[in-house]
Symmetry: C2
Subunit: 229 residues, 2 copies
Amino acid sequence: MDYGANSVWKELGRPKSLRQQVADQIINALALGHLKPGQRIVELELAQNLGISRAPIREALIQLEQEGLVHVVPYKGTYVMDLNYTGVWELYTLRAVLEEFAIRRVMESNIRDTITSLWDIYDKMIEVCNTGNKLQMAELDSKFHEIIVRGADHEQLYRAWYPLKYKYMFYTITIDKNYSSSLEIVVKMHEKLIETMENGEVEKAVEEIKSHIIETGKLLLSQVADHGI
Amino acid sequence: MDYGANSVWKELGRPKSLRQQVADQIINALALGHLKPGQRIVELELAQNLGISRAPIREALIQLEQEGLVHVVPYKGTYVMDLNYTGVWELYTLRAVLEEFAIRRVMESNIRDTITSLWDIYDKMIEVCNTGNKLQMAELDSKFHEIIVRGADHEQLYRAWYPLKYKYMFYTITIDKNYSSSLEIVVKMHEKLIETMENGEVEKAVEEIKSHIIETGKLLLSQVADHGI
DNA sequence: TCTTTGATGACTGTCGACAATAGTTATTTA
DNA sequence: TAAATAACTATTGTCGACAGTCATCAAAGA
Protein backbone atom coordinates (compact mmCIF):
# COMPACT_ATOMS: atom_id res chain seq x y z
CA MET A 1 0.00 0.00 0.00
CA ASP A 2 1.08 3.59 -0.45
CA TYR A 3 0.49 6.21 2.20
CA GLY A 4 2.61 8.74 0.29
CA ALA A 5 6.09 9.32 1.56
CA ASN A 6 6.34 11.93 4.28
CA SER A 7 2.77 12.92 3.72
CA VAL A 8 2.22 13.43 7.43
CA TRP A 9 4.45 16.44 7.29
CA LYS A 10 2.33 18.60 5.08
CA GLU A 11 0.85 21.54 6.90
CA LEU A 12 2.89 20.92 10.00
CA GLY A 13 2.43 24.27 11.63
CA ARG A 14 0.97 23.50 15.02
CA PRO A 15 2.30 20.90 17.39
CA LYS A 16 -0.03 18.05 16.59
CA SER A 17 1.67 14.90 17.74
CA LEU A 18 2.94 12.52 15.10
CA ARG A 19 1.03 9.80 16.85
CA GLN A 20 -2.27 11.49 16.12
CA GLN A 21 -1.25 12.25 12.57
CA VAL A 22 -0.33 8.64 11.99
CA ALA A 23 -3.59 7.45 13.54
CA ASP A 24 -5.51 9.81 11.27
CA GLN A 25 -3.60 8.52 8.25
CA ILE A 26 -4.37 4.93 9.07
CA ILE A 27 -8.01 5.68 9.74
CA ASN A 28 -8.12 7.44 6.42
CA ALA A 29 -6.49 4.53 4.65
CA LEU A 30 -9.06 2.28 6.29
CA ALA A 31 -12.03 4.41 5.37
CA LEU A 32 -10.79 4.69 1.80
CA GLY A 33 -10.35 0.97 1.53
CA HIS A 34 -6.59 1.11 1.07
CA LEU A 35 -6.22 -1.45 3.79
CA LYS A 36 -7.88 -4.82 3.62
CA PRO A 37 -9.37 -6.75 6.55
CA GLY A 38 -6.85 -9.04 8.17
CA GLN A 39 -3.92 -7.42 6.40
CA ARG A 40 -0.79 -7.16 8.45
CA ILE A 41 0.69 -3.79 9.30
CA VAL A 42 4.46 -3.86 9.78
CA GLU A 43 5.69 -1.04 11.99
CA LEU A 44 9.07 -0.53 10.36
CA GLU A 45 7.64 -0.54 6.89
CA LEU A 46 5.02 2.03 7.78
CA ALA A 47 7.58 4.13 9.64
CA GLN A 48 9.86 4.22 6.63
CA ASN A 49 7.00 5.10 4.31
CA LEU A 50 6.16 8.04 6.53
CA GLY A 51 9.76 8.96 7.16
CA ILE A 52 9.49 8.77 10.95
CA SER A 53 10.55 6.40 13.71
CA ARG A 54 8.61 3.47 15.08
CA ALA A 55 7.61 4.99 18.41
CA PRO A 56 4.74 7.17 17.17
CA ILE A 57 3.66 4.36 14.87
CA ARG A 58 3.38 1.96 17.77
CA GLU A 59 1.48 4.47 19.84
CA ALA A 60 -0.94 5.14 17.01
CA LEU A 61 -1.55 1.43 16.54
CA ILE A 62 -2.26 0.97 20.24
CA GLN A 63 -4.71 3.83 20.08
CA LEU A 64 -6.46 2.25 17.11
CA GLU A 65 -6.50 -1.13 18.81
CA GLN A 66 -8.66 0.27 21.59
CA GLU A 67 -11.05 1.57 18.96
CA GLY A 68 -11.17 -1.90 17.51
CA LEU A 69 -9.80 -0.89 14.12
CA VAL A 70 -6.71 -3.05 14.32
CA HIS A 71 -5.73 -6.06 16.36
CA VAL A 72 -2.34 -6.11 18.08
CA VAL A 73 -1.01 -9.56 18.94
CA PRO A 74 1.91 -9.38 21.40
CA TYR A 75 5.24 -10.26 19.83
CA LYS A 76 3.51 -11.21 16.60
CA GLY A 77 2.13 -8.22 14.83
CA THR A 78 -0.68 -5.84 14.09
CA TYR A 79 -3.52 -6.75 11.79
CA VAL A 80 -6.33 -4.73 10.27
CA MET A 81 -9.60 -5.63 11.93
CA ASP A 82 -11.29 -8.55 10.35
CA LEU A 83 -14.95 -9.01 11.17
CA ASN A 84 -16.91 -11.97 9.96
CA TYR A 85 -20.55 -11.90 8.93
CA THR A 86 -21.74 -11.93 12.53
CA GLY A 87 -19.30 -9.22 13.52
CA VAL A 88 -20.55 -6.85 10.86
CA TRP A 89 -24.14 -7.56 11.79
CA GLU A 90 -23.30 -6.70 15.39
CA LEU A 91 -22.22 -3.25 14.29
CA TYR A 92 -25.71 -2.58 13.08
CA THR A 93 -27.66 -4.10 15.93
CA LEU A 94 -25.59 -2.14 18.42
CA ARG A 95 -25.95 1.05 16.41
CA ALA A 96 -29.70 0.55 16.46
CA VAL A 97 -29.65 0.40 20.24
CA LEU A 98 -27.38 3.40 20.70
CA GLU A 99 -29.08 5.58 18.15
CA GLU A 100 -32.51 4.82 19.52
CA PHE A 101 -31.28 6.18 22.83
CA ALA A 102 -29.68 9.12 21.04
CA ILE A 103 -32.75 10.15 19.11
CA ARG A 104 -34.92 9.97 22.21
CA ARG A 105 -32.61 12.38 23.96
CA VAL A 106 -32.39 14.66 20.96
CA MET A 107 -36.16 14.91 20.73
CA GLU A 108 -36.41 15.67 24.40
CA SER A 109 -34.24 18.72 24.21
CA ASN A 110 -31.82 19.70 21.55
CA ILE A 111 -33.96 19.32 18.50
CA ARG A 112 -33.74 22.65 16.65
CA ASP A 113 -30.02 22.85 15.94
CA THR A 114 -29.86 19.16 15.24
CA ILE A 115 -32.57 19.30 12.61
CA THR A 116 -30.94 22.25 10.91
CA SER A 117 -27.69 20.31 10.67
CA LEU A 118 -29.49 17.25 9.41
CA TRP A 119 -31.12 19.19 6.57
CA ASP A 120 -27.69 20.50 5.61
CA ILE A 121 -26.36 16.99 5.29
CA TYR A 122 -29.49 15.97 3.46
CA ASP A 123 -28.94 18.66 0.82
CA LYS A 124 -25.42 17.43 0.24
CA MET A 125 -26.71 13.89 -0.03
CA ILE A 126 -29.04 14.94 -2.83
CA GLU A 127 -26.09 16.36 -4.71
CA VAL A 128 -23.87 13.36 -4.20
CA CYS A 129 -26.70 10.99 -5.00
CA ASN A 130 -26.57 12.08 -8.64
CA THR A 131 -22.82 11.65 -8.93
CA GLY A 132 -23.15 8.15 -7.55
CA ASN A 133 -19.96 8.51 -5.49
CA LYS A 134 -20.43 5.83 -2.90
CA LEU A 135 -17.49 6.90 -0.77
CA GLN A 136 -18.86 10.40 -0.37
CA MET A 137 -22.29 9.02 0.33
CA ALA A 138 -20.93 6.75 3.03
CA GLU A 139 -19.21 9.73 4.61
CA LEU A 140 -22.38 11.80 4.53
CA ASP A 141 -24.44 8.98 5.95
CA SER A 142 -21.91 8.62 8.73
CA LYS A 143 -22.04 12.36 9.41
CA PHE A 144 -25.81 12.31 9.46
CA HIS A 145 -25.89 9.75 12.20
CA GLU A 146 -23.04 11.38 14.04
CA ILE A 147 -25.05 14.58 14.25
CA ILE A 148 -27.89 12.72 15.92
CA VAL A 149 -25.56 11.05 18.39
CA ARG A 150 -23.77 14.28 19.19
CA GLY A 151 -27.10 16.02 19.46
CA ALA A 152 -27.94 13.67 22.31
CA ASP A 153 -25.38 15.62 24.34
CA HIS A 154 -24.18 12.52 26.15
CA GLU A 155 -20.43 12.09 26.14
CA GLN A 156 -20.36 8.46 27.23
CA LEU A 157 -22.84 7.59 24.53
CA TYR A 158 -20.73 9.35 21.96
CA ARG A 159 -17.62 7.56 23.10
CA ALA A 160 -19.38 4.22 22.81
CA TRP A 161 -20.75 5.03 19.37
CA TYR A 162 -17.69 6.63 17.84
CA PRO A 163 -15.64 3.49 17.11
CA LEU A 164 -18.61 1.97 15.34
CA LYS A 165 -18.57 4.82 12.86
CA TYR A 166 -15.22 3.90 11.36
CA LYS A 167 -15.97 0.24 11.41
CA TYR A 168 -19.19 0.42 9.52
CA MET A 169 -17.78 2.96 7.09
CA PHE A 170 -14.87 0.62 6.52
CA TYR A 171 -17.08 -2.33 5.81
CA THR A 172 -19.45 -0.30 3.71
CA ILE A 173 -16.55 0.63 1.47
CA THR A 174 -14.93 -2.77 1.59
CA ILE A 175 -17.96 -4.92 1.05
CA ASP A 176 -20.56 -3.02 -0.80
CA LYS A 177 -20.09 -3.28 -4.54
CA ASN A 178 -23.48 -1.95 -5.58
CA TYR A 179 -24.12 0.82 -3.12
CA SER A 180 -25.15 3.16 -5.90
CA SER A 181 -28.15 1.05 -6.70
CA SER A 182 -29.71 1.95 -3.38
CA LEU A 183 -28.52 5.52 -2.91
CA GLU A 184 -31.94 7.01 -3.57
CA ILE A 185 -33.64 4.73 -1.08
CA VAL A 186 -31.20 5.66 1.65
CA VAL A 187 -31.62 9.36 0.96
CA LYS A 188 -35.39 8.99 1.14
CA MET A 189 -35.12 7.24 4.50
CA HIS A 190 -33.16 10.16 5.86
CA GLU A 191 -35.64 12.69 4.55
CA LYS A 192 -38.51 10.84 6.12
CA LEU A 193 -36.71 10.64 9.43
CA ILE A 194 -36.02 14.37 9.59
CA GLU A 195 -39.65 15.13 8.83
CA THR A 196 -40.82 12.81 11.56
CA MET A 197 -38.47 14.50 13.96
CA GLU A 198 -39.79 17.90 12.93
CA ASN A 199 -43.29 16.70 13.67
CA GLY A 200 -42.18 15.69 17.13
CA GLU A 201 -43.32 12.10 16.72
CA VAL A 202 -40.87 10.42 19.06
CA GLU A 203 -41.94 6.80 18.81
CA LYS A 204 -42.26 6.97 15.05
CA ALA A 205 -38.80 8.50 14.77
CA VAL A 206 -37.39 5.74 16.95
CA GLU A 207 -38.93 3.06 14.78
CA GLU A 208 -37.72 4.75 11.63
CA ILE A 209 -34.12 5.14 12.67
CA LYS A 210 -34.01 1.57 13.97
CA SER A 211 -35.45 0.09 10.83
CA HIS A 212 -33.28 2.38 8.73
CA ILE A 213 -30.13 1.11 10.43
CA ILE A 214 -31.20 -2.52 10.36
CA GLU A 215 -32.23 -2.31 6.72
CA THR A 216 -28.90 -0.75 5.81
CA GLY A 217 -27.14 -3.56 7.61
CA LYS A 218 -29.17 -6.22 5.85
CA LEU A 219 -28.53 -4.54 2.52
CA LEU A 220 -24.81 -4.56 3.17
CA LEU A 221 -24.77 -8.17 4.28
CA SER A 222 -26.77 -9.30 1.30
CA GLN A 223 -23.77 -8.20 -0.74
CA VAL A 224 -21.63 -10.45 1.40
CA ALA A 225 -23.88 -13.39 0.65
CA ASP A 226 -23.47 -12.67 -3.04
CA HIS A 227 -19.77 -11.86 -3.22
CA GLY A 228 -18.24 -13.10 0.00
CA ILE A 229 -16.74 -11.01 2.74
CA MET B 1 1.17 7.07 45.53
CA ASP B 2 2.99 3.79 45.78
CA TYR B 3 2.75 1.10 43.17
CA GLY B 4 5.49 -0.93 44.84
CA ALA B 5 8.93 -0.78 43.29
CA ASN B 6 9.48 -3.30 40.52
CA SER B 7 6.21 -4.94 41.36
CA VAL B 8 5.46 -5.54 37.70
CA TRP B 9 8.23 -8.08 37.60
CA LYS B 10 6.77 -10.61 39.97
CA GLU B 11 5.74 -13.80 38.27
CA LEU B 12 7.31 -12.83 35.00
CA GLY B 13 7.26 -16.20 33.37
CA ARG B 14 5.35 -15.73 30.18
CA PRO B 15 5.95 -12.91 27.77
CA LYS B 16 3.20 -10.54 28.81
CA SER B 17 4.16 -7.14 27.56
CA LEU B 18 5.19 -4.55 30.10
CA ARG B 19 2.65 -2.24 28.54
CA GLN B 20 -0.19 -4.52 29.52
CA GLN B 21 1.23 -5.05 32.98
CA VAL B 22 1.49 -1.32 33.50
CA ALA B 23 -2.04 -0.80 32.21
CA ASP B 24 -3.29 -3.43 34.62
CA GLN B 25 -1.43 -1.77 37.48
CA ILE B 26 -2.94 1.60 36.74
CA ILE B 27 -6.43 0.15 36.37
CA ASN B 28 -5.92 -1.57 39.68
CA ALA B 29 -4.75 1.62 41.33
CA LEU B 30 -7.83 3.33 39.92
CA ALA B 31 -10.26 0.67 41.05
CA LEU B 32 -8.71 0.67 44.52
CA GLY B 33 -8.97 4.41 44.75
CA HIS B 34 -5.23 4.98 44.95
CA LEU B 35 -5.54 7.54 42.21
CA LYS B 36 -7.80 10.55 42.52
CA PRO B 37 -9.87 12.12 39.74
CA GLY B 38 -7.95 14.84 37.94
CA GLN B 39 -4.64 13.82 39.45
CA ARG B 40 -1.68 14.15 37.16
CA ILE B 41 0.34 11.10 36.15
CA VAL B 42 3.98 11.87 35.36
CA GLU B 43 5.54 9.32 33.04
CA LEU B 44 9.07 9.44 34.38
CA GLU B 45 7.96 9.23 37.98
CA LEU B 46 5.80 6.20 37.27
CA ALA B 47 8.55 4.61 35.20
CA GLN B 48 11.04 4.96 38.02
CA ASN B 49 8.58 3.59 40.55
CA LEU B 50 8.15 0.52 38.39
CA GLY B 51 11.82 0.31 37.47
CA ILE B 52 11.21 0.41 33.71
CA SER B 53 11.58 2.90 30.89
CA ARG B 54 9.01 5.39 29.71
CA ALA B 55 8.06 3.67 26.45
CA PRO B 56 5.77 1.02 27.92
CA ILE B 57 4.36 3.60 30.31
CA ARG B 58 3.39 5.88 27.46
CA GLU B 59 1.85 3.03 25.54
CA ALA B 60 -0.17 1.95 28.55
CA LEU B 61 -1.43 5.48 29.08
CA ILE B 62 -2.51 5.77 25.45
CA GLN B 63 -4.35 2.50 25.80
CA LEU B 64 -6.12 3.74 28.90
CA GLU B 65 -6.94 7.04 27.24
CA GLN B 66 -8.99 5.23 24.63
CA GLU B 67 -10.89 3.54 27.43
CA GLY B 68 -11.55 6.94 28.90
CA LEU B 69 -9.76 6.23 32.17
CA VAL B 70 -7.15 8.93 31.73
CA HIS B 71 -6.93 12.06 29.64
CA VAL B 72 -3.76 12.72 27.66
CA VAL B 73 -3.16 16.36 26.74
CA PRO B 74 -0.47 16.73 24.04
CA TYR B 75 2.77 18.19 25.34
CA LYS B 76 1.16 18.84 28.72
CA GLY B 77 0.48 15.66 30.57
CA THR B 78 -1.78 12.80 31.52
CA TYR B 79 -4.56 13.18 34.04
CA VAL B 80 -6.80 10.67 35.74
CA MET B 81 -10.32 10.94 34.38
CA ASP B 82 -12.42 13.50 36.12
CA LEU B 83 -16.14 13.23 35.59
CA ASN B 84 -18.53 15.78 36.98
CA TYR B 85 -21.99 15.01 38.29
CA THR B 86 -23.46 14.79 34.80
CA GLY B 87 -20.63 12.59 33.60
CA VAL B 88 -21.19 10.05 36.33
CA TRP B 89 -24.91 10.04 35.70
CA GLU B 90 -24.21 9.33 32.03
CA LEU B 91 -22.40 6.16 33.02
CA TYR B 92 -25.59 4.84 34.49
CA THR B 93 -28.02 5.93 31.80
CA LEU B 94 -25.81 4.38 29.15
CA ARG B 95 -25.38 1.22 31.15
CA ALA B 96 -29.15 0.96 31.41
CA VAL B 97 -29.42 1.08 27.64
CA LEU B 98 -26.65 -1.41 26.99
CA GLU B 99 -27.69 -3.87 29.65
CA GLU B 100 -31.31 -3.81 28.56
CA PHE B 101 -30.09 -4.92 25.16
CA ALA B 102 -27.81 -7.47 26.78
CA ILE B 103 -30.47 -9.06 28.93
CA ARG B 104 -32.87 -9.33 26.02
CA ARG B 105 -30.29 -11.26 24.07
CA VAL B 106 -29.39 -13.44 27.03
CA MET B 107 -33.00 -14.41 27.55
CA GLU B 108 -33.39 -15.22 23.90
CA SER B 109 -30.67 -17.79 23.90
CA ASN B 110 -27.88 -18.25 26.35
CA ILE B 111 -29.82 -18.27 29.58
CA ARG B 112 -28.81 -21.51 31.35
CA ASP B 113 -25.07 -20.97 31.76
CA THR B 114 -25.59 -17.33 32.50
CA ILE B 115 -28.00 -17.96 35.33
CA THR B 116 -25.68 -20.54 36.86
CA SER B 117 -22.88 -18.00 36.87
CA LEU B 118 -25.14 -15.34 38.30
CA TRP B 119 -26.13 -17.53 41.23
CA ASP B 120 -22.43 -18.15 41.90
CA ILE B 121 -21.81 -14.43 42.14
CA TYR B 122 -24.92 -14.03 44.23
CA ASP B 123 -23.65 -16.54 46.79
CA LYS B 124 -20.41 -14.66 47.11
CA MET B 125 -22.34 -11.43 47.51
CA ILE B 126 -24.18 -12.88 50.47
CA GLU B 127 -20.89 -13.70 52.12
CA VAL B 128 -19.34 -10.32 51.45
CA CYS B 129 -22.49 -8.54 52.50
CA ASN B 130 -21.86 -9.55 56.10
CA THR B 131 -18.26 -8.39 56.09
CA GLY B 132 -19.37 -5.02 54.76
CA ASN B 133 -16.35 -4.78 52.47
CA LYS B 134 -17.55 -2.27 49.94
CA LEU B 135 -14.64 -2.76 47.56
CA GLN B 136 -15.30 -6.47 47.25
CA MET B 137 -18.99 -5.79 46.85
CA ALA B 138 -18.32 -3.31 44.07
CA GLU B 139 -16.19 -5.92 42.32
CA LEU B 140 -18.86 -8.57 42.65
CA ASP B 141 -21.54 -6.21 41.41
CA SER B 142 -19.36 -5.39 38.45
CA LYS B 143 -18.81 -9.07 37.74
CA PHE B 144 -22.51 -9.76 38.00
CA HIS B 145 -23.31 -7.29 35.29
CA GLU B 146 -20.35 -8.35 33.21
CA ILE B 147 -21.70 -11.89 33.13
CA ILE B 148 -24.96 -10.62 31.71
CA VAL B 149 -23.20 -8.54 29.08
CA ARG B 150 -20.90 -11.37 28.10
CA GLY B 151 -23.84 -13.73 28.08
CA ALA B 152 -25.32 -11.61 25.34
CA ASP B 153 -22.62 -13.04 23.10
CA HIS B 154 -22.19 -9.77 21.23
CA GLU B 155 -18.62 -8.62 20.93
CA GLN B 156 -19.33 -5.07 19.87
CA LEU B 157 -21.71 -4.66 22.78
CA TYR B 158 -19.10 -5.95 25.17
CA ARG B 159 -16.49 -3.60 23.77
CA ALA B 160 -18.85 -0.68 24.24
CA TRP B 161 -19.76 -1.71 27.76
CA TYR B 162 -16.32 -2.67 29.02
CA PRO B 163 -14.87 0.81 29.62
CA LEU B 164 -17.94 1.74 31.64
CA LYS B 165 -17.15 -1.02 34.09
CA TYR B 166 -13.93 0.52 35.32
CA LYS B 167 -15.38 3.99 35.35
CA TYR B 168 -18.34 3.19 37.50
CA MET B 169 -16.28 1.00 39.79
CA PHE B 170 -13.83 3.85 40.15
CA TYR B 171 -16.51 6.32 41.05
CA THR B 172 -18.27 3.90 43.31
CA ILE B 173 -15.08 3.57 45.32
CA THR B 174 -14.17 7.22 45.07
CA ILE B 175 -17.51 8.73 45.87
CA ASP B 176 -19.50 6.37 47.93
CA LYS B 177 -18.85 6.75 51.63
CA ASN B 178 -21.81 4.77 52.87
CA TYR B 179 -22.08 1.90 50.46
CA SER B 180 -22.43 -0.56 53.30
CA SER B 181 -25.71 0.97 54.32
CA SER B 182 -27.33 -0.28 51.15
CA LEU B 183 -25.50 -3.53 50.58
CA GLU B 184 -28.52 -5.65 51.51
CA ILE B 185 -30.82 -3.77 49.17
CA VAL B 186 -28.46 -4.23 46.26
CA VAL B 187 -28.11 -7.93 46.94
CA LYS B 188 -31.89 -8.30 47.09
CA MET B 189 -32.22 -6.59 43.72
CA HIS B 190 -29.84 -9.07 42.18
CA GLU B 191 -31.67 -12.02 43.66
CA LYS B 192 -34.96 -10.79 42.33
CA LEU B 193 -33.48 -10.26 38.89
CA ILE B 194 -32.11 -13.77 38.64
CA GLU B 195 -35.44 -15.22 39.69
CA THR B 196 -37.25 -13.19 37.09
CA MET B 197 -34.82 -14.42 34.48
CA GLU B 198 -35.36 -17.99 35.57
CA ASN B 199 -39.08 -17.51 35.13
CA GLY B 200 -38.46 -16.31 31.60
CA GLU B 201 -40.23 -13.02 32.14
CA VAL B 202 -38.34 -10.90 29.63
CA GLU B 203 -40.07 -7.55 29.99
CA LYS B 204 -40.06 -7.77 33.76
CA ALA B 205 -36.36 -8.58 33.76
CA VAL B 206 -35.69 -5.62 31.50
CA GLU B 207 -37.55 -3.29 33.81
CA GLU B 208 -35.79 -4.67 36.84
CA ILE B 209 -32.29 -4.36 35.50
CA LYS B 210 -32.96 -0.85 34.22
CA SER B 211 -34.40 0.35 37.48
CA HIS B 212 -31.67 -1.46 39.39
CA ILE B 213 -28.97 0.39 37.46
CA ILE B 214 -30.72 3.73 37.64
CA GLU B 215 -31.39 3.37 41.36
CA THR B 216 -27.77 2.48 41.98
CA GLY B 217 -26.74 5.57 40.06
CA LYS B 218 -29.09 7.79 42.00
CA LEU B 219 -27.89 6.32 45.24
CA LEU B 220 -24.32 7.05 44.32
CA LEU B 221 -25.04 10.57 43.21
CA SER B 222 -26.97 11.33 46.36
CA GLN B 223 -23.67 10.85 48.15
CA VAL B 224 -22.18 13.45 45.86
CA ALA B 225 -24.87 15.91 46.77
CA ASP B 226 -24.04 15.33 50.42
CA HIS B 227 -20.25 15.21 50.30
CA GLY B 228 -19.27 16.71 46.96
CA ILE B 229 -17.58 14.90 44.10
C1' DT C 1 8.99 -40.67 6.16
C1' DC C 2 8.12 -38.31 10.24
C1' DT C 3 9.50 -35.84 14.23
C1' DT C 4 12.78 -33.15 16.76
C1' DT C 5 16.33 -29.88 17.22
C1' DG C 6 18.90 -25.90 16.17
C1' DA C 7 20.26 -22.09 13.38
C1' DT C 8 18.53 -17.97 10.72
C1' DG C 9 15.86 -13.84 9.64
C1' DA C 10 12.16 -10.69 10.40
C1' DC C 11 9.76 -8.36 13.41
C1' DT C 12 8.09 -6.59 17.92
C1' DG C 13 9.31 -4.90 22.77
C1' DT C 14 12.16 -1.98 25.61
C1' DC C 15 15.69 1.21 26.56
C1' DG C 16 18.44 5.56 27.16
C1' DA C 17 19.35 9.86 24.91
C1' DC C 18 18.00 13.92 22.73
C1' DA C 19 14.54 17.42 20.80
C1' DA C 20 10.35 20.08 21.40
C1' DT C 21 7.04 22.24 24.25
C1' DA C 22 4.68 24.54 28.23
C1' DG C 23 5.04 26.75 32.56
C1' DT C 24 7.80 29.51 35.73
C1' DT C 25 10.99 32.67 37.20
C1' DA C 26 14.23 36.29 36.34
C1' DT C 27 15.45 40.30 33.66
C1' DT C 28 14.93 44.07 30.88
C1' DT C 29 12.55 48.18 29.35
C1' DA C 30 9.01 51.71 29.11
C1' DT D 1 5.76 49.83 38.76
C1' DA D 2 4.06 47.08 35.14
C1' DA D 3 4.42 44.91 30.85
C1' DA D 4 7.21 42.50 27.77
C1' DT D 5 10.87 39.44 27.05
C1' DA D 6 14.30 36.25 28.01
C1' DA D 7 16.42 32.29 30.52
C1' DC D 8 15.44 28.18 33.10
C1' DT D 9 13.09 23.90 34.51
C1' DA D 10 10.08 20.09 34.24
C1' DT D 11 7.92 17.10 31.32
C1' DT D 12 6.37 15.20 27.01
C1' DG D 13 7.54 13.69 22.07
C1' DT D 14 10.65 11.33 18.99
C1' DC D 15 14.58 8.81 17.70
C1' DG D 16 18.05 5.04 16.84
C1' DA D 17 19.90 0.99 18.91
C1' DC D 18 19.54 -3.28 21.04
C1' DA D 19 17.10 -7.26 23.34
C1' DG D 20 13.43 -10.67 23.11
C1' DT D 21 10.24 -13.48 20.55
C1' DC D 22 8.21 -15.90 16.77
C1' DA D 23 8.15 -18.33 12.35
C1' DT D 24 10.75 -20.81 8.95
C1' DC D 25 13.56 -24.07 7.31
C1' DA D 26 17.42 -27.18 7.20
C1' DA D 27 19.86 -30.91 9.45
C1' DA D 28 19.83 -34.84 12.48
C1' DG D 29 17.84 -38.77 14.43
C1' DA D 30 14.06 -42.24 15.02
